[in-house]
């Protein structure tokens, strides 16, 4: 028996993946999922950052086609980016095993929306497990690998911020034995999704889901807490914890394997209680599925769709209380650090009254006082497309004020596609893209990306040169400037570019203050590594 540890959900997932014999972990940083791969690396697993979630899932899929056990991690909105491979990966299935972590953020602690990714499981036909604490995060990852290997299908573990970032007690289990080594098995009809092969693959997927639903009816992933017959509660994930505290007397059906659902077990539970309430965070996923099966249950009032649940809110749902909720006092909002190189950029954008199509990262904080110099922010990489769209339709004088602004890591993620659009369909007034290059993925805690030239563990790798890429894509002017040491030059340059009809990229390059020291240290170590004769660079 291993010792008990106090782990957060992300750490528990990393430990479970390692103990399950994971060959490769891949993903893209995003709160609250980031620490999973960082921890996998720390405890001796192989982990790497991909440029974005779509590529991460594709790399994971390839490894799992080749028989490996793979962990792919991302935040909820990352699954939107990875949705394209996901929806067909459930048709092709895998030879090894693949567990996809979707870390949702109800209440939006650090996200642009609070989408409920349980809908993805249903829409893509991907089996889904939902842990309620770190022990379950550990146990469910172990089981998810087993389910994935048994039915040869990707499995989603849907977590939320509270599960990812709460520390609870974890007891690890024995490491998986007899994990087979990767090997290529040719399966053209199963893995090449031309229509003729995809039609039977879809039927195979539905057959697997039917088998899993039957298996789930007696699975230990779901459990019943026997209590009062007057009140029964059907719940899952973190909501279960709030329920146990809010209604200690109630009977509870706690669902761990939430797609495909064990409908007969739910029917039996509901029939055994006088009043049956479904308590779930976010969308009415469980309640709709249960009602669609002809089972009569109560849901929650619409006001509880928004934000996280907690013990107090669960009490209100059970009491049918729809009165206004107390509003907690506002804390101090975050802001761009004092000395952040982006501060100068936003001062200039404000002074020039630019129309700023923004993006996702620390620099999104430029929307808040004192700058208030951002006009749009939608999703990763959207600054380019949105800025170009505005340039295409606005009257010339307004079009000339439009600037797209994006960080280095976000540019690598999906900004490159927007840049290709910029040179393919240039607006008549041209366009200006500012790449805020602080040399790290700052917002999520300073992760590496292709343009840092360092891998997840900060070791050396090939470096993506942003300026060379912009030139190759066809931008007419590509300039690199340190906005902190040359603020006047930066302002003059931006003015000049806005007045011209050129396609211009201005790379505002200055390391993140918080990361600069560490970056220098990594570079020193890496230079020594590369200089040593024993180090062979691939």
């Amino acid at each position: 028996m291993s010792e008990r540890k106090l782990l957060n959900g992300d750490e528990a997932v990393a430990q479970a993946a390692l103990d399950a014999g994971v060959t490769l972990g891949t993903g893209y940083p995003g709160t609250p999922s980031t620490e999973i791969l960082e921890n996998l690396d720390l405890i001796g697993g192989r982990a790497q950052w991909a440029p974005n979630e779509k590529v991460a899932l594709e790399v994971g899929l390839g490894a799992a086609y080749a028989g490996a056990r793979v962990l792919v991690t991302m935040k909820h909105v990352g699954v939107n980016v990875a949705a394209d491979p996901l929806f067909t990966a459930t048709y092709t299935g895998v030879h090894g095993a693949l567990v996809l972590i979707s870390a949702d953020d109800p209440g939006m602690a650090s996200s642009q929306n609070e989408q409920d990714n349980r809908r993805y499981a249903l829409a893509s036909g991907c089996p889904m497990l939902e842990p309620s604490d770190s022990q379950e995060a550990y146990d469910f990852v172990r089981t998810a690998f087993d389910i994935s290997a048994k039915w040869k299908i990707p499995v989603m573990l849907r977590m939320t911020t509270r599960v990812c970032h709460s520390r609870t007690v974890v007891q690890a289990k024995a490491k998986a034995a007899n994990v087979s080594a990767p090997a290529f098995v040719r399966d053209i009809r199963g893995k090449v999704m031309i229509p003729a092969y995809a039609r039977p693959a879809h039927k195979l997927l539905r057959q697997k889901l039917g088998e899993m639903a039957a298996w789930n009816e007696t699975s230990e992933l779901n459990k019943v807490i026997v209590g009062s017959k007057d009140l029964g509660i059907i719940t899952s994930a973190i909501s279960y914890m709030h329920v146990r505290e809010a209604a200690p007397e109630a009977s509870v059906l706690k669902l761990g394997f939430t797609y495909p659902l064990p409908i007969e077990r739910i029917r039996q539970f509901a029939a055994g209680v006088t009043r049956c309430v479904v308590i779930e965070e976010g969308d009415p996923y469980l309640v709709e599925s249960i009602r669609a099966a002809g089972i009569s249950v109560e849901g929650k009032p619409e006001m509880y769709r928004y934000g996280e649940l907690n013990v107090d809110r669960v009490k209100r749902i059970i009491a049918g209380d729809v009165s206004a909720e107390p509003v907690p006092p506002r804390g101090k909002p975050p802001q761009l650090c004092n000395g952040c190189p982006y501060r100068t950029v936003y001062e200039v954008l404000k002074r020039l009254d630019c129309i700023v199509a923004g993006d996702i990262g620390c620099y999104t904080l430029g929307v808040l006082p004192p700058f208030e110099a951002m006009d749009t922010c939608v999703c990763m990489g959207a600054s380019l497309g949105v800025g170009l769209g505005m340039r295409h339709v606005l009257p010339e004088q307004e079009a000339r004020r439009v600037v797209s602004i994006i960080g280095d890591s976000t540019f690598m993620h999906t900004g490159v596609n927007g840049l290709i659009e910029m040179t393919y369909n240039p607006p008549t007034t041209g366009h200006v893209l500012i790449i805020l290059d602080n040399g790290t993925t700052a917002m999520t805690g300073q992760q590496e990306h292709p343009a840092t030239g360092r891998t997840l563990d900060h070791g050396p790798t090939n470096k993506f040169i942003i300026e060379d890429f912009c030139k190759a894509a066809g931008a007419k002017n590509v300039d690199i400037i340190d906005p902190v040491s040359k603020p006047a030059e930066f302002e003059a340059m931006l003015k000049g570019r806005l007045a011209s009809n050129d396609l211009s990229v201005i790379i505002a390059r200055k390391p993140c203050l918080l990361a600069a020291g560490k970056i220098r240290e990594y570079e020193k170590i890496n230079a020594e590594k590369l200089a040593s004769a024993s180090y062979c660079k691939v």
């Binding site: 106090l6 709160t31 609250p32 602690a109 650090s110 604490d133 911020t161 509270r162 970032h165 709460s166 520390r167 609870t168 007690v169 973190i238 914890m241 709030h242 146990r244 505290e245 907690n310 013990v311 107090d312 107390p326 907690p328 006092p329 506002r330 804390g331 101090k332 909002p333 975050p334 802001q335 761009l336 650090c337 620390c362 904080l365 917002m443 999520t444 805690g445």
Partner: protein, 161 residues
């Protein structure tokens, strides 16, 4: 009568060591054999915004979040974060505010979070050696002695309250 679960809320600003302080406390009570849950929200708080962490321990803890007005202890590291967190405290709960410790008199002002843990330790029924083990496990060797002294300073202040 004391309830089965003890609730502690830590609050302050990003960069003050609020998360670290709550991690140390959670570890200290974990070392006593309690069931422990600790909730925190990361992300934007890295940029100097408000941060708060909940630590709950007892025989069995369900929700990781302390319900409103149920904190037995509220430890606030920044003076401007007292008013917006006060509602977390239950009637009769213990409020520990940063004016109790003069950070400028500590060997390293960054040890304020550990000094505040010292004040808390003086008010709680958790063996001192468990606190010290948790501090040692959480901090690098070179910072340990300074922080253990900050913890003692806090304990002396707490004992006089």
């Amino acid at each position: 009568m004391k309830t089965a679960v003890t609730n502690v809320v830590f609050a302050g600003l990003g960069g003050q060591g609020v998360v670290k302080a709550s991690d140390i406390m959670a570890d200290a009570v974990f070392r006593c054999g309690h069931d422990v849950k600790k909730a925190e929200v990361h992300g934007m708080s890295q940029r100097g915004g408000s941060v708060s962490c909940d630590v709950r321990y007892g025989k069995e803890v369900f929700s990781p979040m302390v319900p409103a007005a149920q904190a037995d202890y509220l430890v606030v590291l920044s003076p401007d974060q007292v008013d917006n967190n006060r509602q977390a405290l239950r009637p009769g709960g213990v409020l520990i505010t940063p004016d109790l410790v003069d950070a400028t008199k500590l060997e390293n002002a960054k040890s304020l979070n550990v000094a505040m843990l010292g004040v808390l330790a003086a008010k709680m029924d958790v063996p001192i050696e468990k606190w010290k083990e948790a501090i040692a496990a959480a901090l690098p060797e070179k910072l340990l002695e300074t922080n253990l002294r900050a913890f003692e300073t806090g304990r002396h202040i707490g004992a006089r309250l």
